[in-house]
Amino acid sequence: MNRLRKSEILLAVLFPLPLFLGIGGAYGQDSLALAPVAKVTAVDTPNDGGGSITVDWEVSPDEAAGKVTTYHIFRASEGGEFQLLGEVSSGVTKYVDEGTRDGTKYIYAVQAIGKEGKSALTKSSPVWSRGQWFNTQRTNMLLVLLVISAAILLYIRKARAGGKLFIRKIAGLDAVDEAVGRATEMGKPVLFIPGIMDMDDIQTIAGMTILGRVARKTADYETTLRVPVCRSVVMSVAQEVVKEAYLDAGRPDAYDANKINYLTDDQFGYAAGVDGIMLREKPAAIFLMGHFFAESLILAETGFSIGAIQIAGTAEISQLPFFITACDYTLIGEELFAASAYLSGEPRLLGSLKGQDVGKAIFMAIIILGVILENLGYHFLTALMTTG
């Protein structure tokens, strides 16, 4: 007890010492040359998983005169001392503290710093962070998702019930049979190139679904199918897809895993490898279905030079012009995703396409309405469509 008392006395004596000595440190009570920041507000950062508090303040009145260079942001746990958290340049009025412990109360303080000195600390009220269960900034996205999904599911149901669905002709997909048939007649192989991205890319998945359909046809026609790939996982998936298709067609004996092989992960190394296969094996039909980048034209022009019938499909917009100029048929963007449904003719898959069209109609209506409203000076629809 005695010891404690002694230490308390010592603290009481020493505490004001810095003030007398003029070494105020972070508190900056000594040379308060600048006007303090007007108001500091600290709130739990909204719509996040917790662990973050956002601090806002109004600039020091001295900022207009150009006296403020930076702001220092301090933090103290309730009852604890203020510690420097970070600094931002003048003009900035916001700081996000990403290192808070959820549920712990903190007080924030902001101090203006300039060449002439600093301001006093302006403190916030106590605040604590917590995680949110719903990101309200994404309510609009949830609504859109629900509406589109509902439309797709509705039409899938309708199709399952036997409703008749119209689907427009996609020339590139109608030509799949012709291409495989031609390769068969000429006794030459079919080459399938599933893009250069991995299995986490939806375009590669779409490419795999088309490979399944093409493999089924090559199995029926007894034509060699070559699938050189750029990624190991894609190789495994492609082998599985082709194997299953050959099993389905009742021709497991015709399946050759060596025809679906890995070349390299390197973009242009892969392009060189595939070009080599084209020039050596002279396939009569080439499918380029998936996510392509700069190698697209290198592949498609080489394919053209050997006289193969070429059907390409990608959702990589910058590569579409190249495919359109060098290939016989090109599936543009969404057509790549529709291909599997179109080729299978299965009602449930076709139904989903119809639902997609409903989504498109909704978007078109919103866009037209948005353009009209914006031109009339009403911005609420634009604000409604903005996500966080």
Binding site: G49, G131, D200, T325
Partner: protein, 206 residues
């Protein structure tokens, strides 16, 4: 069962990924990053599958002395040399791996990329023919943009760059947006079909 288990995993993971977009609270909110990290690890390890396949196919080709087996020897030699120099002496500037990278890999890759200049010329020569009205429009806009994007165009006529900028900013952006919206809807629809197990062709079945 061979089909059901992958379909069940797809359904659960797919739905969780949709939910995490709207729910930031832990542990749901962290799942996107977590799953993506897993994917990166899986893809990194899967390289073994690819290299194994490469060695098997080219090993077979050499063993059977098939046509062009010499190239297979070269390929396996390149693979071995790069792996040994990389693991043995590091990949920093100054190492033999770095030397091979700069003086073999870089020029070879650049050569492949440079082929584009030639292929663009031959493809546009062939494709830009005014066969009908649409093709005529395509041809005219291509020529205008090509002229407007280079200093020579400005030297010929000051308005070429202005027209090219307008084509890029207005019709190009409008078209790109339309395609982007279509693609986004296609992605939603395809994802839904896969999550619900309606689309199974990627699992090798109807």
């Amino acid at each position: 069962m061979r089909r059901q288990i992958p379909l069940a995993i797809t359904l659960v993971v797919g739905l969780v990924m949709v939910v995490q977009y709207f729910v930031p609270h832990k542990p749901v909110g962290n799942l996107y990053d977590l799953f993506n990290t897993w994917a990166i690890v899986i893809f990194a390890f899967a390289i073994v599958l690819g290299v194994g396949n490469l060695i098997k196919i080219h090993g077979d080709r050499i063993y059977r002395l098939e046509r062009g087996w010499g190239y297979s020897v070269l390929l396996l030699l390149g693979l071995t040399v790069m792996i040994i120099t990389g693991i043995g002496w590091g990949i920093e500037p100054g190492t033999s791996f770095f030397y091979l990278y700069w003086h073999l890999y870089v020029p070879m890759s650049s050569t492949m990329f440079a082929l584009l200049a030639f292929f663009i010329a031959s493809a546009s020569y062939r494709a830009f023919r005014a066969r009908n009205f649409e093709a005529f429009l395509l041809l005219i806009s291509a020529v205008l943009v090509m002229l407007g994007r280079v200093p020579m165009g400005k030297a010929l006529w000051g308005q070429f760059p202005v027209i090219a900028d307008w084509i890029m900013k207005v019709p190009n952006t409008a078209g790109q947006r339309a395609i982007m919206i279509g693609i986004a809807l296609g992605v939603v629809s395809t994802s839904l079909r896969i999550i619900l197990g309606i689309e199974r062709a990627h699992l090798g079945g109807e």
